[in-house]
Amino acid sequence: MAAAAGGTAQGRGATSFQRKAADGSRLATVVGTRPSVRHGQLLLSSGLPSLDCVLGGGIAVGTLLLIEEDKYALYSNLLFKYFLAEGVVCGHDLFVASAKEHPDNILKELPAPLLDEQRNELGEEATAVKSEDFQDSMKIAWRYQNLPKIEASPTTSTKFGHYYDISKTMSPELFQSIKWHSFYLPEELSLQPTVKTCNMNSAYGRLLLSIQRVIYQEGFDGSDPQKKQKNILRIGIQNLGSLLWGDDICCSDTPEDIHSLTKFLYVLRGLLRKSLSACIITIPAHLIENKAIMERVTNLSDTVVGLESFIGSERETNPLYKDYHGLVHVRQIPRLNSLICDVSDTKDLAFRLKRKLFTIERLHLPPDLSDTVSRTSKQELAGSAKLLSSGCGAMAIGKKHLDF
């Protein structure tokens, strides 16, 4: 392909356009990654193709993905496991840190990868219905026929990332080929500290030292390029900032130690930038009362995604949201080698947990199928539709604001 393009360019002898083929092939030598079309940065999959798409193709190597946990940390835990499972399937090294659940147990409960045939079976029903719908020409709403079909869940065209079946756990054979490191806080606390903690919470200090050791000893910093095949280190840190990590930011509005978490994130980012690694952190944002800390944490992260589940909120029973289990807020996307980040065209995203799959989809309202024109709860619906997102109009309500 590259050769052909080069040949035609030479034949015409007029264009200055040249593919950077050499560059791309050098980058693509690492398993489970692909260079980004937009900025050439090496991307890896988060384990959830629909999330990859929302984040502009995937997670760039050397960056930090921060997940704001939903209220009961159900769905954020799923994303966490997807990220690690993708690492196992791609043969990446893993580093799992937790203060609550033992990393061994987390790894045992990773979802099993779905093979292509199985996934097709799952999707078949949906596509069958779809094709039936569109085969015959529309008789009533015929003007809509020529409109482009809108895919509910954003998908990428090329094959990148895998799907996982959350009803099954991954078979132990898959683990045998990969290397993984664990950090379980209660075990680590019994060891002697050997790091200058810089006034940082000792748990964070130990975690940083542990990550730094793995990166340097296993050669992820690229210090010894001849040694072996390059690989990616996937770092997963669970419930960071919670009380279990010895941090008091979740307990009070004016915590004594507000700088530990931000210092930790800063140094962690330094480590990530210098190595072939990517990190996912889940953080109980809803427990942190001092919002200033979350603002700083967001500024210190690369990608920030917030999950808001409907469990326990009045939205659970709201007919508007009957298809979904919660909302996804993309709070921050990094700008890499470019002035602009990959912004998807829609800001209203929701997630849904099917029997086997967890997906992120564009939020849309269900069709009104009732016979009567006016629903009883129409007023309420309109009210909650306004609350849907902070998108266009929502913030300007009552202000009569016009930007242009």
Binding site: R38, V195, K196, C198, N199, L208, L209, Q212, H259, T262, K263, Y266, V267, R269, G270, L271, R273, K274, N290, K291, A292, E295, R296, N299, L300, S338, L339, I340, V343, D345, K347, S390, G391, C392, G393, A394, M395, A396, K399, H401, L402, D403, F404
Partner: protein, 186 residues
């Protein structure tokens, strides 16, 4: 966090230096205190000393117009420096760079109107009072738009006129236009 001065381009890359500070060898630190020492001592003097040494020209015969760029000052607060210490730091920098060396300082800070980060707001407010030119970049109040990514307001200290432009960011450049002259309207 990154500091640089345009005369011969001296960079201090915070992310890299903090790794040396935390995981570096003990011997290296005996010679000279690291500019990022404040992470453990919350004293910004070493950082200021670094700025001063880097920007002061070796020979005093020619004026080279040093520029100090700070990206970004809000990070200092996250790393444990107090708001007063940060303001002191900027004040010292102004004395050296602006007054003694006749240079310029460009500082980036984060802020938004409904921010609850009081320390940061204190720094931002105070900087606004000391700055000669303020560029305030924000997203549109009415939300995301494909053709207008936000607006930038700028005002000068000695004039009470605020000018507003809207902008659209492309891959490699940014186009500015007056309000209402975007592709979405025209």
């Amino acid at each position: 966090m990154m500091f640089s001065s345009l005369e011969g381009l001296v960079f201090l890359e915070g992310l890299k230096s903090c790794l040396d500070l935390l995981f570096g060898e003990q011997e290296e630190q005996l010679g000279q205190p690291s500019p990022l020492q404040f992470i453990s001592t919350s004293d910004l003097k070493a950082l200021f000393d670094f700025v001063q040494v880097s920007l002061t020209p070796a020979s005093s015969d020619s004026w080279k117009g040093p520029v100090l760029l700070v990206d970004d000052l809000s990070v200092l607060l996250s790393l444990g420096a107090t708001a007063v210490a940060v303001l002191d730091f900027i004040h010292y920098c102004r004395v050296v760079v602006c007054s003694q060396l006749k240079g310029n300082i460009v500082v980036l800070v984060h802020s938004n109107e409904d921010s609850e980060d009081e320390e940061n707001e204190l720094v931002v407010n105070s900087l606004c009072h000391h700055s000669d030119l303020i560029l305030w970049v924000e997203g549109l109040v009415t939300g995301f738009c494909k053709d207008v990514h936000g607006q930038v307001m700028h005002w000068r200290a000695w004039r009470d006129v605020v000018q507003t432009y809207q902008y659209k960011i492309q891959d490699k450049n940014v186009t500015f236009f007056a309000r209402g002259l975007s592709a979405a309207v025209l």
